[in-house]
């Protein structure tokens, strides 16, 4: 059992996450498009490649690295049987994200976030709840263009976060930020596809390793 858990940690890319996407895929899905110069957040300046006709362009090389790290981390969490919670507050993509979560066998929350969900979970759900082990944000802002409450709550409860940060978002409290577009349907569909493939791959690998261990 210990061997099952320590073996993936020795490889840098145990789940071969780099094969899932290329720079061209990101470009075709319009991930590099940001908001206008006036909406730019100060802490996103390192991730921005440049500005054309007032619209910010995100640096796709940095996005590639961050996305690989994020997908690798989610794969490891899924391999160890962790609970992954997809969070977004965009009404257009709420149905898509919920179906992705259902397809992976993980959980989603695309509705109004009640104040004490993570911090007051014992009382809201019951005495023996298990909190999510990873929070994946497809959009870090809520409907009023403010940072989502779940980022702060996850930081309080020591839960790691993976988030797609756009040029008007604050990447501070997110453990694995992924600078990219969160508004276009093509980009969000690409992210959903990538997350779904990584999680399914990680779970399959876990089942295979367990089967091999049992055979011995």
């Amino acid at each position: 059992d210990d061997k099952l858990l320590t073996e993936p940690l020795s490889h840098p890319d145990f789940f071969s996450v780099k094969e899932l996407f290329t720079l061209k895929d990101l470009f075709d899905a319009r991930v590099h498009l940001g908001h206008k110069k006036g909406c730019r957040h100060r802490f996103m300046e390192p991730y921005i490649f440049g500005c054309r006709l007032d619209q910010d362009i995100i640096d796709l090389d940095q996005t590639m690295q961050h996305l690989q790290l994020a997908l690798n981390f989610t794969a490891h969490v899924a391999y160890r049987g962790g609970i992954i919670l997809f969070v977004t507050r965009r009404r257009q993509f709420c149905h898509l994200v919920e179906s992705t979560a259902r397809a992976c066998g993980e959980y989603a929350h695309t509705r109004y976030w009640q104040g004490g969900l993570l911090t007051n979970a014992r009382i809201q759900f019951g005495p023996g709840v298990r909190l999510p082990d990873l929070l994946v944000f497809l959009s870090t802002l809520n409907n009023v263009f403010e940072p989502h409450v779940a980022i702060r709550d996850a930081a309080k409860m020591n839960i790691p976060t993976v988030g797609v940060v756009d040029t008007n978002c604050n990447p501070c409290l997110i453990t694995y930020p992924v600078p990219g577009n969160d508004d276009s349907p093509a980009a969000v569909e690409l992210y959903c596809k990538l997350f779904r493939m990584t999680i399914i791959r990680a779970k399959d690998k876990r089942r295979q390793s367990e089967a091999i261990e049992e055979l011995r």
């Binding site: 049987g81 149905h95 959980y107 989603a108 009640q114 969900l117 023996g128 709840v129 298990r130």
Partner: protein, 350 residues
């Protein structure tokens, strides 16, 4: 000799905070069901009947016989029913042994409501896709309209019972709007089964008032009777056809019985409304009430009698004019601490 006195100290319950309604475990409910079945057999033996064929109605009768109660509230009387009817249905623990919840929307808080919304939205999307396919093939879209008059949506309480969790007013209205949007699409017939889970039949409300047919007396003249009341006055009227417009009350002509013009106008109003002033004769009897009340009672009685002489459209006109409705106004009672029904005692400053 020493006598051993055993005393048990009562267990002190420390101040435990409110933990919500009691949660019944599955083992507890199972035990209750076993006890109920045992008790049913004992009861059957007591009543001298066969334990195998002892139905719920027999149980109710036996309990009413053995524990007679004079309490007015039926729900306060002793009851012996199956535990599933007594203990309300509750949600069991939502997660498995490894801690992972069963429903994929568990972390939202309102899992059943949101999963219902998700499902309904999925049906909406599938209907739209089907519509697009039909348009692409240039086929006509079905336009059979659902009969909305005979059905209503589930109420908030019924939805709460279905989902086993609290639903707020906003959530309920959103759900109903989504359902209405789904029903409004032309190809919604595909999801008819799904929609029927949330709609209920409404039984026919209006009691059809039966209009009695005309009767004929010995001379062959058609007549009909009607009854009316107003305040404490009760009246019966018999309206004859082929008449001269003569009206008799309690054997006396109306000029003598009702000296005041206002009362006679009230009597003539139904005939004036239908334009049949000189065509009918009327004989009425009236008792109780005062002058004005008796006039109103006879007016109602004559209007009811005239329904048989007249077409359905004119009956509807009469109903809308207020000739056929019973006037509900009665004398209001005097209250203690006041001089009359509304008048208070004179307020004196000192």
């Amino acid at each position: 000799t020493l006598r051993l006195i055993c005393t048990t100290t009562p267990v002190q319950r420390k101040n435990v905070g409110a933990s919500g309604p009691e949660k019944y475990t599955e083992a507890f409910i199972k035990k209750q069901i076993e006890e109920f079945n045992l008790g049913k057999r004992h009861l059957a033996n007591m009543m001298g009947e066969d334990p195998e064929t002892f139905t719920q109605e027999d149980i109710d009768r036996a309990i009413a016989y053995l524990f007679p109660s004079g309490l007015f509230d039926k729900q306060a009387r002793p009851v012996m029913k199956h535990p599933t009817e007594i203990f309300p249905e509750q949600r069991k623990i939502q997660w498995g042994e490894d801690g992972r919840p069963f429903n994929f929307l568990f972390y939202t808080g309102k899992q059943s409501y949101y999963s219902l919304m998700h499902e309904t939205y999925e049906k909406l999307l599938s209907v739209q896709k089907h519509q697009d396919q039909l348009i692409a093939q240039d086929l006509p879209l079905q336009k059979e309209k659902r009969n909305l008059a005979g059905s209503r949506w589930l109420t908030k309480i019924e939805l709460e019972e279905m989902l086993l969790e609290k639903v707020s007013d906003d959530d309920y209205s959103r759900f109903i709007k989504l359902l209405q949007k789904l029903v409004a699409l032309p190809c919604a017939d595909i999801e008819e089964n799904y929609i029927q889970k949330f709609s209920k039949e409404v039984p026919v409300q209006l009691q059809k008032v039966v209009i009695e047919p005309l009767q004929h007396d010995e001379r062959g003249v058609a007549f009909s009777t009607g009854e009316g009341k107003r305040k404490t006055a009760r009246a019966t009227a018999v309206v004859y056809d082929n008449g001269t417009g003569k009206i008799t009350v309690n054997g006396v002509d109306i000029l003598h019985y009702f000296p005041v013009l206002q009362d006679r106008e009230q009597l003539l109003f139904p005939f004036q409304f239908l334009g049949r002033i000189g065509k009918h004769d009327m004989v009425c009897t009236v008792s109780g009430g005062g002058r004005s009340a008796q006039a109103g009672a006879i007016r109602l009685a004559s209007a009811k009698a005239l329904r048989s002489f007249v077409t359905e459209k004119e009956v509807e006109f009469m109903r809308q004019a207020g000739l056929l409705t019973v006037d509900p106004r009665v004398k209001e009672r005097k209250k203690p601490g006041q001089e009359g029904p509304r008048r208070k005692f004179t307020w004196k400053k000192r």
